[in-house]
Symmetry: C2
Subunit: 209 residues, 2 copies
């Protein structure tokens, strides 16, 4: 198994970059303290997704930070990524596991207790609790789970929990206090003009609390 | 290698079905003479694509007709499909081959002589010459190659050639006369109210010429 530090988990969104280079921004984010990266590409064609993934994987391997691919098992296999992140509407986790193997990280987005239990049972390496707060980044997102749900899930679920959805400098401390293993951020970093500085602030908040 | 009869090759398009069941229509098309099926799903999410592919693969295996998956290597792997059809903007063919193995069919869409040469060199099992006529089904399609291109390609390329794009009862005879190994149809079958009858007519034209 690759090193899996979920504490500050960046999910990419090129639509927020306003012309900035994805590779460059990811590199800066890691410099600022991001410990894991998920490449999420809902619009790209397969070739473009593959090439982006390959570029990021090369860079992140050098930096010692795992790269997970959102949804697309073929892209994860093609670039030998460190793992795959699945939503409830993506490939079934056992199918992905049988093709990707036990050495890779597989995460699963959950929004309900039942999904969390099932995800743990199916052998997910971590659960993305999503969305913990309401968020503008995913238009089709289910209702926010809230902090209490996260904290109560923590009492029951043994595998790592990563909160996602609307997380920023203001509420990160509260995420940490639930006992979650990490916080995933999209817009708080991808939309920042100084991504390294913002990542550093988030890292400091996480470490201090 | 699975049986590969490219002669009458159905490419699916659920948007043309007007409420008819994909599985039912594919079954009828095979009864009428379709020899190969490609599941093409540009809008479906991964889970939906996977479930459709699984249903079709089970059915087509029983009928002895190969199922190819358009673009998505992960879906092809997940359902153990007979093969994969790649466009120029999909995963590179050598990458797909290394993950899918030599026993599976991999086809490549080409629109230019150079792409055809490269496809043959990279080990494609067949080339989809696309679009041979101009077609309404693919909005972003490159210019029609025409019949002369297909005939001249036949002189140079050794692997099977499957023509696609705007093929119907009226022009199928001309496709056969170029020396192509097969004709792929979308709307001529998927848009037909009697898909079995239409497939039978296409099959008869192909066999007679």
């Amino acid at each position: 198994m690759v090193n899996s530090d979920y504490s500050l988990y960046l999910v990419t969104d090129r639509s927020l970059l306003q012309g900035r280079s994805l590779l460059e921004e990811v590199r800066k984010a890691v410099k600022g303290g991001v410990s894991m990266v998920q490449l999420r590409e809902k619009e790209a064609g397969s070739r473009e997704f593959y090439e982006l993934a390959q570029t990021l994987q090369t860079e992140l391997r050098e930096l010692g930070v795992p790269l997970l691919i959102n949804d697309r098992l073929d892209i994860a296999l093609a670039v030998d990524a460190d793992g795959l992140h699945l939503g409830q509407d993506d490939l079934p986790l056992p199918v992905a596991r049988s093709l990707l193997g036990k050495e890779k990280i597989i995460g699963l987005s959950i929004n309900k207790r039942e999904e969390a239990r099932e995800g743990e049972k199916m052998g997910a390496d971590y659960l993305g609790v999503s969305p913990v707060f309401s968020t503008p980044t995913k238009a089709d997102a289910p209702p926010a789970t809230g902090l209490e749900f996260l904290a109560s899930l923590r009492q029951e679920i043994k595998i790592p929990l990563v909160a996602i959805g609307g997380i920023n400098k203001e509420n990160l401390k509260m995420i940490k206090e639930t006992g979650a293993d990490g916080a995933a951020v999209i817009s708080a970093l991808m939309g920042a003009s100084d991504i390294e500085g913002e990542a550093r602030k988030l890292r400091q908040i996480w470490e201090r609390n």
